[in-house]
Symmetry: C2
Subunit: 347 residues, 2 copies
DNA sequence: TGATACGATGTGACCGGTCACATCACTCGT
DNA sequence: ACGAGTGATGTGACCGGTCACATCGTATCA
């Protein structure tokens, strides 16, 4: 923008008051006569004055800007968290600068550029990896860790995460209750916290039902449909014992599995039950519609933003750790275990 | 952040030089002895100095911040544009503040808060609706319109858009070349520019092949899978003349159609060919894998950012209008028209 | 009625950089 | 040997707000 903007001093002289009075008016301060206020407002209107946010940040030492750092912004789950956070931020007069940090180097760069150089007042970090999430976050910067998994021992800031252990448990329990005993799992990258937690939930559910988990039926994917597709083909064609049900740690990989199953002429759910996690918008339209666990990502974002803003404004270091529960959405990709079919398919 | 940061003056006195010299060093200016430069750099290192971005913006009158405004950020297409733009922005030392403007009111608010108040240096606007996209954008603000469709008569800024007319033409032509003569279309919301252009491409392709377009086979959807699903059921069950091929204006709606077709026990593509647009990541995993047109959204974002930055830095009002072509991706949802099957299905 | 208090308003300094210009030392040309 | 020219460095003002405090007028109370 060209630097031709009208300043607070212009408004002041136009209204015949001091800049401080104008400042009071635009900040909705009390101590102004309603008469002068009216005069100032008229001047503002007349001149089309808009306070300069940069100058204000400078003087106040706060920018009203938050940053949300995620591995990427195209992933539906991250994008939804961001959108939720943004809604809350805006309603409280903040702006949310969302940005991607695909690697640690970028993350450090962003810390310098966003936090150390004073561009933002606080941080929402979506960092799914197991390594200490607060690594690299400058001390003293209000920070909330979101969605990445429960980092139990973190020192700084609060967190809002999914209860992945419960999610894994619920998903697995659902399959068990349908009568399945040979249950496989396709996980996300093992380096991510949520993956570990979902695995733990899986193991716990099996154990609670007196079932053994078969390591051969647990395979690591990378969240993509493509990985689900290839892993399932391999799993189905080359393993001795085939599972009768599969817990797939996200919906994208689950579609991949569905597609591979289709190619292998498998009947879902008669021959194989599949449950995913996320409930992405297209999940009801898969073939067959996918049973999955719905995660309220928007709520994670909202909650994180709320926590962050209250930490900033009350200047108290929040240590709250919130967990969001997932809800089972039953569709047609899971069904009762049928012994006959299962026996047939084994050959 | 607490206001305990070390300032340029601290560095200056520590290094025994003036603040201006420090300024020269951090701005990679020439006129500094390599000896003093070394001393200053040492001081910076010692004190952990990081220039304050806000103060710098204030003094320079530029913030190094761009904004990208889209109806939402969860839509895969928008998110990808944003990610592309962000990559370029960052590589050029800018930050991209992406934000949602679901309605006009919010848009105006954002213009005030982002542009008029000097938070950003330029704007990327994703505004798919037919109404004048530059409406509400403050004059003098470098602006690029992205992805929304070719707004031919816009006055301000440049644009990077998809060649939707060509996309519609290509998609339709593909169906025609497979022998289809009765081709239906499910459009996006008629208020969006790209929808109109895709329709025009559709009509043109039919006309060029001497085919008539049947208004009864053209229905408006809302981009969601759900709308595709319901529209197709209605279309298939209640119309006199059923199409043998369907051009669906995005992939999400196309999945909805696929799902409805499955329910109606239709064989795709034997009884009905379906082509989408977008090539979302899950498109190859639909049932059957979806023939579609791939749009390079990331490139749109990148190109928009490049144009915007060059407009800002050279202070020339760019009027360039770029169009990105879509590429046909053939998968299994389209196939040759078979007369017999088509005749059968009519009853 | 005068000291007090309080509400409305104004003033100077300041936030942390950068800009334009001044200053200074030193080399070069004649 | 002296003025001009050049490169390195320093100084004051400024960007546009806000903060802390000063000032002023008037209502309140003893």
């Amino acid at each position: 923008m060209p630097r031709s903007k009208v300043t607070i001093r212009d408004v002041a002289s136009y209204a015949g008051v001091s800049r401080q009075t104008v400042s009071r008016v635009i900040n909705a301060s009390e101590k102004v006569t309603s008469e002068t206020r009216a005069r100032v407002l008229a001047a503002i209107e007349q001149l089309g004055y808009q306070p300069n946010a940069v100058a204000r940040s400078m003087a106040r030492g706060r920018t009203g800007m938050l940053a949300c750092i995620a591995p990427n912004v195209t992933d539906y789950t991250f994008a939804t968290i961001i959108e939720g956070a943004q809604a809350v931020a805006r309603s409280q007069g903040y702006f949310l600068l969302s940005t991607t940090a695909p690697d640690g180097e970028t993350f450090d760069y962003l810390m310098d550029q966003l936090v150390k150089s004073g561009r933002v007042d606080g941080l929402i970090v979506i960092q799914p990896y197991i390594e200490d999430p607060s690594h690299g976050v400058p001390a003293g910067c209000p920070t909330i860790f979101a969605g990445g998994g429960a980092h139990a021992n973190q020192q700084v800031g609060g967190s809002v995460v999914l209860d992945d252990m419960a999610a894994g448990y619920t998903a697995t329990k659902h399959l068990i209750q349908l009568g399945h005993q040979s249950i496989g799992m396709i996980t996300g990258p093992l380096g991510e916290v949520c993956v570990q937690n979902r695995m733990t939930g899986f193991e716990n559910a099996l154990e609670d039902s007196g079932l053994e988990s078969n390591p051969e039926l647990i395979v690591e994917g990378d969240w993509t449909a493509s990985s689900g597709y290839h892993i399932f083909r391999e799993l189905w064609l080359n393993r001795e014992n085939r599972p009768t049900a599969l817990f797939v740690q996200n919906d994208s990989m689950a579609v991949g599995v569905l597609h591979a199953a289709e190619e292998l002429a498998l009947h879902i759910p008669e021959q194989l039950s599949i449950i995913g996690i996320d409930d992405i918008p297209l999940a009801p339209y898969f073939h067959p519609p996918l049973t999955t666990l719905r995660q309220d990502f928007a709520e994670i974002g909202r909650s994180a933003a709320r926590m962050l803003i209250s930490a900033i404004e009350q200047k108290q270091t929040l240590q709250r750790h919130e967990q969001i529960e997932a809800a089972l959405i039953q569709r047609q990709s899971t069904g009762r275990y049928h012994k006959k079919v299962a026996l047939n398919q084994a050959f």
